[in-house]
């Protein structure tokens, strides 16, 4: 049922999980996999804190912080896009969604630049256990960013062709996936760049 048509009666508060059925199972599975990676990272760090600290200090903290701000901005844009779409404001919905796509694309470009800087400094996934985790965790996350950005771009194209009135539950699911990309990075960033 479309969210736009599923309006509760006055005074009634209808509680529902947003998005399509099954999306939360997918999200839970994703969160479980990353949680195990986070735990494994810290357990291995405890075995060799000096190597992990050396690796951490070689990362670009400022760029990591800016990347966090890019993803947060993208998430905020997607929230605004969904609200505009529910209100039937096609122009604003498309503008905000374009902002979300731009946030994802900017993060991906920045991350590739960061990888190139690391490789240029002689750091690869075989350099140390720290960089093995760094490239594995951020690489898996980058795949999520690319997929999430492509999903948002797909909705943007669909909205431009067919309008924003239909498929709101499907867009809710796409937006949820995007926010998962954001919240995973919220944990990844301090774990890799700040924990010392």
């Amino acid at each position: 049922m479309s969210v736009a048509t599923a309006r509760p009666a006055a005074g009634e508060r209808r509680r529902r999980m947003p998005g399509a059925e099954g999306i939360w199972v997918l999200i839970a599975g994703d969160l479980a996999i990353f949680s195990l990676l986070f735990l494994s990272f810290l357990l291995d760090r405890n075995d060799d804190p000096a190597t992990f600290e050396q690796g951490r200090q070689a990362l670009h903290l400022d760029q990591g912080g800016i990347n966090t701000l890019l993803l947060l901005t993208g998430s905020w844009c997607v929230v605004r896009a969904l609200r505009a779409a529910r209100a039937g404001d096609a122009v604003r919905a498309q503008r905000w969604l374009a902002g979300g796509v731009a946030g994802g694309a900017a993060f991906a470009v920045s991350k590739v630049v960061e990888y190139l800087r690391e490789v240029d400094a002689g750091h690869t996934s075989t350099t140390s256990d720290f960089f093995m985790y760094y490239f594995s965790i951020t690489g898996l996350h980058l795949v999520h960013v690319v997929v999430g950005t492509a999903i948002l771009a797909g909705f943007l194209l669909a909205w431009r062709r067919r309008g924003v009135g239909s498929g709101l539950v499907a867009f809710e699911s796409g937006a949820l996936y995007w926010h998962v990309v954001d919240l995973l990075w919220i944990v990844i960033f301090p774990l890799l760049y700040v924990v010392r």
């Binding site: 405890n46 903290l61 912080g65 954001d182 960033f189 924990v195």
Partner: protein, 88 residues
């Protein structure tokens, strides 16, 4: 008590940005004790994730079990990660 103004996307976004700046450009400085700083940074990350879950992913208006699962997950992640770090 619910405070709708504090739950607007703009305010939540502002809080997330402020917390990111605090983590990245204030707490990360060497001036702070490592162990206390790391626990604080992990707690801030957990709070940020909770804001995204409740206000961006709209779990605030979800059935109680939906909130409980995902709020429980991030609380467990923060506690376990902080515990493992402190045990190291």
């Amino acid at each position: 008590m619910r405070l709708p103004l504090l739950r607007s996307p703009q305010v939540v976004f502002g809080l997330l940005v402020a917390a990111t700046i605090l983590t990245t450009w204030v707490l990360s400085k060497d001036a702070f004790d490592s162990r206390g700083m790391v626990v604080a940074v992990l707690a801030i990350a957990g709070w940020k994730v909770r804001l995204v879950l409740l206000d961006f992913m709209e779990l605030r208006d979800a059935p109680w079990y939906g909130r409980a699962i995902f709020e429980g997950w991030i609380a467990a992640v923060v506690v376990v990660l902080a515990g493992v770090y402190l045990a190291g």
